[in-house]
Every structure is written in structure tokens, then in C-alpha cells.
Symmetry: C2
Subunit: 221 residues, 2 copies
């Protein structure tokens, strides 16, 4: 078992059987997700901002404009929480109370640090770009010096991390199974649509191959 | 124009042309979304937790177990941020720097209050259930007294609210259009799969009709 260590801050207390600290489970969710929600406080007011990210072993990278409030705040190594949530299904029970969602989420807390080393920053931007579309970095124009200066990268070491997963059918109270109500799971799937080029492609440029974006296979099966 | 008032805390400073305070735009995003991410701090550590919600006019309701950390914390009317994000597409530019996502997000900040009035709590649970599947409350068994005591509902008045929206193709630097690289948008669509009943339906119970869940039409067109 290779687990993250549960701490009082990350131990799943509500419905603990849904909790997991297993690194493989955590990393699988992070690698499938697309958007994370970054939580930080300014003058005691929390903010939650969506952004993209990438995982590098046991480090999570996020990036953004060097002048954004989020990046300027987090660069000061204040406490942060980054959460990734995948929605897998609507869970319809016979009782309103037992309605739920099937989901997989990861909550990561700690203190992020500004990535100042040029080589590590380049690696982080490479990984973030390729997290969206594998091997995209290798075909796109890479950042100029000016673009690098306009971009900040933050690294959060994955230490206090927990996953929470719900799957399977609704669980009703035994007496409610006698009710004539449909109950079960409606899967929620994320799919890619037909690509729309920007109308300025050079002649002979091949279409983008969506099979490169492997994690967009149906989330449920 | 019926707008939320932009404050120093909610004014979109990065790429302000993506910002909107228009109530119709904000409400449309909230009504289409499924999951919100709730940000709150405990001992200066932010937490970001996914949950479901519903909008009632200019109030957002969230609910959860009365004994959860999130509900117990927010019931003390501490500052909260609730964010809803819809992902619409992957924006692939010719340069790594101009890669982006098409998305619609709403950020709401303020102080939530515990809903103690029984009638308003009932209404909130009704709306939250029907936010997932319209008219589900009317067919499901409604909560018992015990279930009501086990559930807390919080209300956040929508006052400091902003939406941020990106749509359309990538915008490359002019000189990069000469590069032989595919550029455009890959739509991301959320769809419902084939319902899976829980194997304990009574004879004669009709299948769930997915057309009730109207907002799961393709997010992009």
C-alpha cells in the first residue's frame, strides 16, 4: 500500500468508507481531470478559482498570469486548497434524502511555492500544456522570454491529500423499496465534440486527432 | 440592464472583457451547472469542497450533513466563496502561450446563513432535489423529521457575484498564423448515458425519462 498520510485536516470523517489515500487512486483522478478549483484567502475572504493544472509525480503545478490576484497571493506561500472533481452519475433513490451523485474527487492542501527555477518552470508549462492534449507542446510554438515573464507557475507538494469516491446504485431505506418509483444511476459522460478549426489553417494541415486525448473516453462503463 | 454590482472583491481584473455581472448571464450558468465548489477557511486553512446546490431567485442554497465540517463551519456565517464552472471546449492555439479553455464560471462571495425556518428549509430541499432532476421531489418520498434534522441547509444571498466567460477560437500572435499547426476549438460536451436501474424496481415502473433533464443538451453548438 502506497498511501498519502491522512492527517486531522484531510481524514474523511463524513462517510469514511468513501475516502481513499491511495496514491494510485489519487493520481488517476488528477490525471483524468481537466480543471481544478483553487481556494485561497485574501483578508480572510476565501476565493475559489477554476484553472488548469498538471501533476508531476507528487507535485501539482498550476499556472496563470503573473499579475493575477490568485498567482500573486499564492506566490507568498499562503495556505491553499486545490480540489479536482469528476462527476460520474446522478444517483436517483426512492427517497429524496438518499439522492446522491457518483463522483471522484481529490482535495489537496498545503502551501504552494512560486517556481523560480527556469528549467523547472519550463517543465511545468510543458506538462500543463500536454495535460490538455498529449504531445501538444511538441507541435506548438514554445513560449518566448516575454511570455515566460508574463506567466507564473506554482508548485504544490502533494502531502496532505485525500480522495473521495462514490460509485454504484442508490441505497434506499428497506421499507422504501416497496414504492413504485424508478431508482438507479444516470451516467454522466464527458465527451469531445467535432473540432472546429479557426479558419486560418495553412493548406495541408491535418485535422487534430482526438484519440490523443485518451482520458475523454466515457467516464463510466 | 439588471446587473449585480461589481465590487473591488468581484470585479474581473484579468481580461475584464470576459467578465459579466448581468443577472441573466449569471443565473443561466447557475441553472445549467450541477456541482459547485464551496470555499471556506478553518484556522486560516482554506478548504474547497464539491457539492450540489440550487438557486432560488437571488439566493443560492447548499445542503449537507448537519455534522459535516463544511456545514458546521458555514453555519457560523463565516465568509464563503462558491464557484460554479462549466467547461465548454479546449482552445488549441499555434503557440503554447495562447492555449486556453472555453468556459463559463460564476464566483459568489459573502456570508452564508443557516436556514432555520422549517418552511424555507423544505423549499430549499425541494429546489435542490429538482435542480438535479426536474419534478423528482414530486415523485420521491419526501424527508422524514429525522432526515430533516440530519440535514443542514445554508443560504447565500447573491450580492457580490461575477461571471467570467470565454468562447470562440484561439487568438494567436499574427506571425504565428504562418505556422503549419492545427488550431481551433475541441468542444467538450456533457451528456447523459443510458440509465442503469438498481435491480429492485417494482413491476410496471416506467424508465426514467432523460428529456426531463433539459440542461444536459450539448453544452456547445
Amino acid at each position: 500500500m502506497d498511501n498519502y498520510t491522512a492527517t486531522p485536516r484531510t481524514r474523511i470523517r463524513r462517510l469514511p468508507k468513501r475516502g481513499s489515500y491511495d496514491k494510485l487512486a489519487v493520481h488517476a483522478i488528477l490525471d483524468q481531470g481537466f480543471i481544478c478549483h483553487v481556494g485561497f484567502a485574501v483578508d480572510a475572504q476565501p476565493y475559489v478559482i477554476p484553472t488548469i493544472y498538471a501533476r508531476d509525480g507528487a507535485t501539482l503545478f498550476v499556472h496563470g498570469s503573473a499579475v493575477s490576484r490568485m498567482l500573486r497571493t499564492l506566490a507568498q506561500a499562503v495556505p491553499v486548497c486545490i480540489t479536482v472533481t469528476l462527476l460520474d452519475g446522478l444517483v436517483l433513490a426512492r427517497s429524496a434524502f438518499h439522492h446522491s451523485l457518483n463522483y471522484r474527487s481529490v482535495v489537496m492542501i498545503g502551501n504552494a511555492r512560486l517556481v523560480e527555477d527556469a528549467e523547472q518552470k519550463w517543465r511545468a508549462l510543458h506538462l500543463i500544456t500536454n495535460h490538455v492534449v498529449p504531445a501538444r507542446w511538441e507541435e506548438a510554438r514554445t513560449p518566448s522570454e516575454l511570455e515566460l515573464r508574463q506567466t507564473s507557475v506554482l508548485a504544490l507538494p502533494l502531502q496532505e491529500v485525500s480522495a473521495k469516491i462514490r460509485s454504484g446504485p442508490p441505497i434506499d431505506d428497506e421499507e422504501d423499496y416497496a414504492r413504485p418509483i424508478w431508482a438507479g444511476v444516470v451516467p454522466v459522460e464527458t465527451r469531445l465534440g467535432t473540432p472546429i478549426d479557426d479558419g486560418r489553417l495553412l493548406a495541408g494541415v491535418a485535422d487534430i486527432d482526438l484519440t490523443r486525448i485518451r482520458r475523454f473516453a466515457p467516464l463510466t462503463d
